[in-house]
Symmetry: none
Subunit: 195 residues, 4 copies
C-alpha cells in the first residue's frame, strides 16, 4: 500500500532506527538489514532513500547533533546573564532526552566513526566548536583571560561524564553529572572569577 510523500517519513524512521540499533548493540557493527527491519522496511528501501550505509550513519549522527544543538539553543533563549547561560548549556547537555543510555551509546560510537570517516569528523568538530564558543562567550565576563582554559576543562569534563554513562548508568545520572560540572564550574569561577 504505497502512499505518496513517504520519503521524509521513511528517512526519519531510518534515522531513529539507526540510533536505537547502535544504542542497543553498542557497536557500529550494525547491518543495514537490522536497521531497516527496526524501521519496518526492506533493506533495499533503506538503500533507495539513503544511497548507502555510510550516509545512513551520517544522517543519524547529524540528527543526534541537531537535537542536542536545538536543546542547548532552547535553554539559552530562556537564560538571563552569563552564569545562568552557562548553567543552561550544562543542564541541556545532560537533559533526559540527550542522556539516555541509548543515545549516549550512539554518540560514543559516532566519536569512533569520526576517527575513520572525514564527514563524521567534520560534523563532530562543528558541534564541539559550537559548544566551546558558547562556553567561552559566557565565561569571558566572569573569568577574563582564563575563559579559554576553563572552557576546555568544562568541555572535557562533560565529554568524560558522557563516556562514563555507558559503563555505570545510574538512575539519575543526568542530575549527578550536572551537579559535577556545576561544582567544577563554581570552583573555577571562585578561583579565577572577577570579584
Amino acid at each position: 500500500m504505497p502512499k505518496l510523500g513517504m520519503e521524509p517519513i521513511r528517512r526519519a524512521a531510518l534515522v531513529n532506527a539507526t540510533i536505537s540499533e547502535i544504542g542497543a548493540s553498542g557497536t557500529l557493527d550494525v547491518t543495514v538489514a537490522q536497521i531497516a527491519a527496526r524501521a519496518g522496511m526492506s533493506s533495499a528501501l533503506a538503500h533507495h532513500y539513503f544511497g548507502g550505509k555510510e550516509q545512513i550513519f551520517l544522517a543519524a549522527m547529524r540528527h543526534v547533533l541537531t537535537v542536542y544543538g536545538a536543546e542547548v539553543r532552547g535553554a539559552l533563549a530562556m537564560a538571563r546573564g552569563p552564569r545562568a547561560r552557562l548553567e543552561a548549556v550544562v543542564r541541556a547537555g545532560f537533559s533526559t532526552s540527550n542522556f539516555r543510555p541509548e543515545t549516549v551509546a550512539a554518540w560514543l560510537n559516532f566519536y569512533v566513526l569520526a576517527r575513520t570517516n572525514a564527514h563524521a569528523a567534520r560534523l563532530l568538530r562543528v558541534y564541539q566548536r559550537r559548544l566551546r564558543s558558547n562556553l567561552v562567550h559566557d565565561l569571558a565576563p566572569l573569568s577574563g583571560s582564563a575563559a579559554s582554559d576553563i572552557a576546555d576543562r568544562i568541555a572535557a569534563l562533560i565529554d568524560g561524564l558522557y563516556l562514563r554513562q555507558g559503563i555505570d548508568a545510574g538512575n539519575d545520572a543526568g542530575r549527578t553529572a550536572t551537579a559535577h560540572v556545576l561544582a567544577v564550574l563554581s570552583n573555577e569561577l571562585d578561583a579565577k572569577g572577577t570579584p
Copy 2:
C-alpha cells in the same frame, strides 16, 4: 624452522600488532589477517596462540591496562604525601607512553568493546575502580567527605581529555592535559580542602 619457546614472543608480537593496528585504523574493524601480518606471521598461527579474535582483543586490552597500571604504580612509589601522590597519578596517565594517539585510539575502541563484551567490561571496571580508589585514598586526608565526589570529577575529566586527544591531538597534549587536571584539582582542594 620453528623454534622452541616462541609462544611468549609470538603472543607479545600479536598484542602489540593489535594495538598498533587498532590505533592506526581507528576502528575495531581490524581483521585477524591484518594483525597477524603486522606481527609477521600467518593468521592461522594467531588463532593457534589465542584461540580466536576476541581473545586477541582482550589480551591487547589487558596489556594496555597493565602498562597503564604499572606506570601509575611506579609513579606512586616515588611520591611522598597525598598531594604528591595525586599529582603522580595524573602525570602517569598522561605520560608520553600512554598518551600517544595510537594508544589512545586503541583505548577508546576498548571502551566501545566493553559495551559489547562482558570480559572487556570487567577489565575496564577493574581499572576504573583502581584509579578511583587511588584518588579517593589520597583525597580523603585533603578533602574529607568530599573525596568521593571529587574523585568522580577528576576521573571523568581525565577520561574526557583522553577522548579529545583523538580529535585534536596537539603536540604536547600530555602536558596540557596534565595542567588542566591539576588546575581543577587545585580548585577543588582550595574549595573543599581542610584548612
Copy 3:
C-alpha cells in the same frame, strides 16, 4: 498531465534510449532505470509499455535491423544492374547512420544477445539471410555457381569490418570499409566472374 496517443512516442523514445545507452556503455549490462531516465520517463512506465527488459531489448534490436534493412532497400531501388546493386548493398551497410560507433556497439551486443535469447537469434538470422539472399541474387549472373561461396565471404567480411569498428574507430571508417569490401568483391569477380 498525461496525454493521449503517447504510446508510439514513448516506445520510440525508449528504443532510441536503449540503443544509445548500450552504445555508450558498450554493454548489455544496462539497467531499465538508465534507459528510462535517458528516455525521460520512469522505469515503471517503461515496463508498462514493453512488459519487461527483454522486450525492450528486442524492440531496440528490431529497430536497428529495420533501419538497416530500409537503407539497403532504398539503395537497391536506385541501382541498375547486378554490379551496381552489389555496390549499393555494401555502401548502405557502411553508411554513416549505420556505422556510428554507438550503433555498431549496440549491434555487437545484439550479436551477443542472440546467443542467449531465441527471439534475438531469430531476428538476427532473418536479416543475415536477407543480406545473403540479396548478395547471391546479384552475384549469380556475375559468377555463376560460385555465387554462394562468394556471398558467404563478402558477408563475413562485412561483419568482420563491423566488429573492428568498435576497437579502432577511424574517422572515415565507413569509406575505408566500403573500399575494402569492394576490392575483395572486384577480385572475386575477376577470378570467378563470367567475362
Copy 4:
C-alpha cells in the same frame, strides 16, 4: 584435505571453468559462484586466488589469446616461404582447438569486454597487432605496397568468420572458414601479386 602447491592448479582450473562457463552460457553474465562450482571449489577460494571477478576474466582472456598465439607460432615454425606461412597463420586460427563453439563464444564476449575494460582492450589490441604484423610480413614479398590493405581485409575476414561461427556452427566450420580465407587470399595475390 588441503595440499601444498595448489595455487597453479586452482588458477588453471578457474581459467578453464571461466571459458567453459562463458562459452556455455554465451554471456559475460556469469557468476563467480558458477565458475567456482565448475572448477570444483568455493567462490571464496576463487576470490582468494584472483582477487576479484575482473581479474578472473582477464586471466581467462589472456589464456585464450596465449593458446591462440602459441598455435600460430607453432604453425609458423614449420612453414617454408611466405605463402606457406600465410596459410599456416590462417589454418592455425581455425584449428579445431581454437574454433570450438565454446571458445569462440568466449572470444566474442571478450571482444565485448574490451569495450568496457581497459585491460581487456589492451590485451586484444596486442594480439590484433601481432596477427596483422604476421600477415603484413609475409604479404610484403608477394604483394608489395598492397600488403597493408590486404592484411586488413584478411584480418577482418577472419574476425567475421569467427563471429558467424557462433550463429551457424556447421560441423567442419573450421575447414570451410579456412577455405574461404585462402580463396580470398589467392584472389588478392592474383590481382596484386608480383608476377
